[in-house]
Amino acid sequence: MSTAFVVKGASLYGDAVGDIAVVDGVIVDAAPAGATVIDADGLIALPGLVDLHTHLREPGREDAETIETGSRAAARGGWTAVHAMANTNPVADTAGVVEQVWSRGQEVGLVDVFPVGAVTVGIKGEHLSEMGAMAHSRARVRLFSDDGHCVSDPVIMRRALEYVKAFDGAVIQHAQDPRLTEGAQMHEGEVSAELGLAGWPAVAEESIVARDVLLAEHVGSRVHVQHLSTAGSVEIVRWAKARGIAVTAEVTPHHLLLTHEEARTYDPVFKVNPPLRTQEDVDALRAALADGTIDIVATDHAPHADEDKDCEWASASFGMLGLETAIGIVQQVMVDTGLLSWRDVARVMSETPARIGRVEHAHGRPLAVGEPANLTLIDPQAVYTVDRSHVASRSHNTPYAGRELPGRAVATFLRGAPTFLDPRFEGAFA
């Protein structure tokens, strides 16, 4: 493999056109003679994307996704780092499991896999897991979540928020009041009323977000809201930030694009948690991402085996694929609409998530000399139709099948090594 190459004529951050020369995984001033040339005319160069919310399913559900297949999907989507959620089997609630996930990620070598540790043992919400051991393990865990479940007990949440301060960690919360959402199937509103599917009310998220920001303020900790999905949650986070509370929030591509109207098909590919909301919520989420109230985009990439989606809506698992389509959706709903520039995309999909995850020493770095060559090239003209049978993920539960997206990643590099190359570049690194 070539150790020296130059990306020629890319639009850096969507702005000025320039070259990026790379030698031995580091961005340098100029490439040596004979270095491989990548013609990036018309492409946008961004720092490698950093996902704060990925389900890789390994260990436990390797039939749905593995660290290898998930890493490949991530590389194809332009990501160079993903944060793997803890709801595996066994749960990532010990140093042993997070080290296994971390080292398997390194072995695969397509993206850096940063394990997220469980807040409570077995994600049961009863006893704090050994977060210190995970933080001090080789996996260097900084983010903790019971994702899939909410840390609903206010005392346990308070303790967790306090405890992680010892190692500069953060609790990232799946905000869902469990009592208000027993049996819930979709957003509670006009569509659920008509379809006869049990409702997941917005207040079940908003009440937890409100409680958590107040707890974070009280104990002086930072808290991160996962997959924020309602206009009301936006208002609460906006209020908390104005008050100086250390809260950050993420939004998923699907909550920026799709609404609860999709449930009318009864196709469980649209069943996700938190559920798809109303157009008013979608509009508020886009505006909040544009004005900085919402800090980042994270995928909540959630692969599921066919049999867990090819069934009755109420029996189906929650979740949808997201890694490979995220950049196209963000381009469609944020960039092509003028709400964000590509410079902003670098911030919300790379720099800020790296900072929240405390991996900013390695990811979300500037495209500058001396920095690690973690980067992705985006073709904003590469209009394509999503095909569920052509995904890198082991699962097929993309909600965008048949949908046209405006652009996509065409090359991704992790410390200078190509982890994904569009066919147009095949040969360059032969």
Binding site: Q185, E190, A193, L197, Y266, W313
Partner: protein, 318 residues
């Protein structure tokens, strides 16, 4: 019509065609030999993922009186204990050559998923899906109301009639099907329920809402009142019960002799069954001359014959 899944997309003409066809079917049931040869050679599968002896019997009687071959398939499988999947069951039925599948399922949307045609090609008749739709129940309700309340029923809708549906609207597929069908047929619908049993998001429904039966009777001239069954589990949810006690429910929403007497003289009483006597309806109301509850059962067979006939035999007349 390829399928009968719900009432929300049924046009007025289609609905009246079904009701008129049901009248013809009912007429044939007065004859000495009640069996018609119309669906000879067709196979109708009753696919029941949820126990409902009376609905299954009604569909079975309807199909048999049209000379169809009937297969009853009681599939096990609830949301808790997953049995054979809907998909595998559907593939099995397809392999057996089902011309029509009558499906009752605990999951909202199950009939719609079958009708997508990826798993089987026959026509699908929704016999109740979760808390979503139960179109033949609404059709038999409309049929019954039309017979009693419309002067020359054939070819007509329910224009100008006021029909009250009382009870658990939130969990009721009967209510959802009736709201759309009755409105399409020109009736005005009033829902009467405690606020806990009215769905959030009901705004667009073409209905008036009251939170006590007395208030509804006082405010409106009601031509037919439809009492819904109150499920036991709605009362016993511990801290999450939908109303405080059966007694309070009966006080506010039960139909008894006194309330019945305050309805207009011509008003009829309906109930999809099975009834909780003493809870949503008193014995006096259930057994009164104004009650058409038993007749609803008989009409159910005629309406289901009409639906099967129209789906399977096309445009010909019996």
């Amino acid at each position: 019509m390829k399928h009968l899944l719900g009432t929300e997309t049924l046009s007025r003409d289609e609905a009246i065609l079904i009701l008129d066809t049901a009248e013809q079917m009912a007429a044939t049931q007065e004859r000495e030999i009640r069996k018609l040869p119309t669906l000879r050679g067709k196979t109708v599968v009753n696919l029941f993922f949820e126990d409902s002896t009376r609905t299954r019997m009604s569909f079975e009687a309807a199909a048999k009186r049209l000379s169809a071959d009937v297969i009853n398939f009681a599939a096990k499988g609830s949301s808790v204990s997953k049995g054979e999947s809907l998909k595998d069951t559907a593939l099995t039925l397809q392999a057996m050559g089902a011309d029509a599948v009558v499906i009752r399922h605990w999951a909202s949307g199950a009939a719609y998923q079958l009708a997508r045609g990826e798993w089987l090609h026959g026509c699908v008749l929704n016999a109740g899906d979760g808390t979503h739709q139960h179109p033949t129940q609404a059709l038999l309700d409309a049929y019954t109301a039309r017979r009693h309340l419309v002067d020359s029923p054939t070819g007509n809708g329910l224009d100008g009639l006021r029909i009250a549906i009382v009870g658990d609207i939130l969990h009721s597929r009967v209510a959802r099907s009736n709201v759309y069908l009755l409105t399409t047929l020109g009736a005005k619908v009033t829902l009467v329920a405690p606020p806990t049993l009215v769905p959030v998001g009901i705004g667009p429904w073409p209905v008036d809402i009251f939170h006590s039966l007395d208030a509804a009777i006082e405010a409106q001239e009601i031509d037919a009142v439809m009492m819904l069954r109150v499920q036991r589990e709605r009362m016993t949810g511990g801290g999450a019960a939908f109303f405080p006690s059966p007694e309070e429910y009966t006080r506010l929403f039960g139909l008894d002799g006194a309330r019945l007497a305050r309805l207009p003289q011509h008003a009829i009483v309906m109930h999809p069954g099975p009834m909780n006597r003493g809870l949503e309806i008193s014995a006096e109301a259930a057994d009164s001359a104004r009650s058409v509850i038993v007749e609803q059962v008989a009409n159910g067979v005629a309406v289901r014959m009409a639906a099967l006939y129209l789906l399977l035999a096309g445009e010909e007349r019996p």
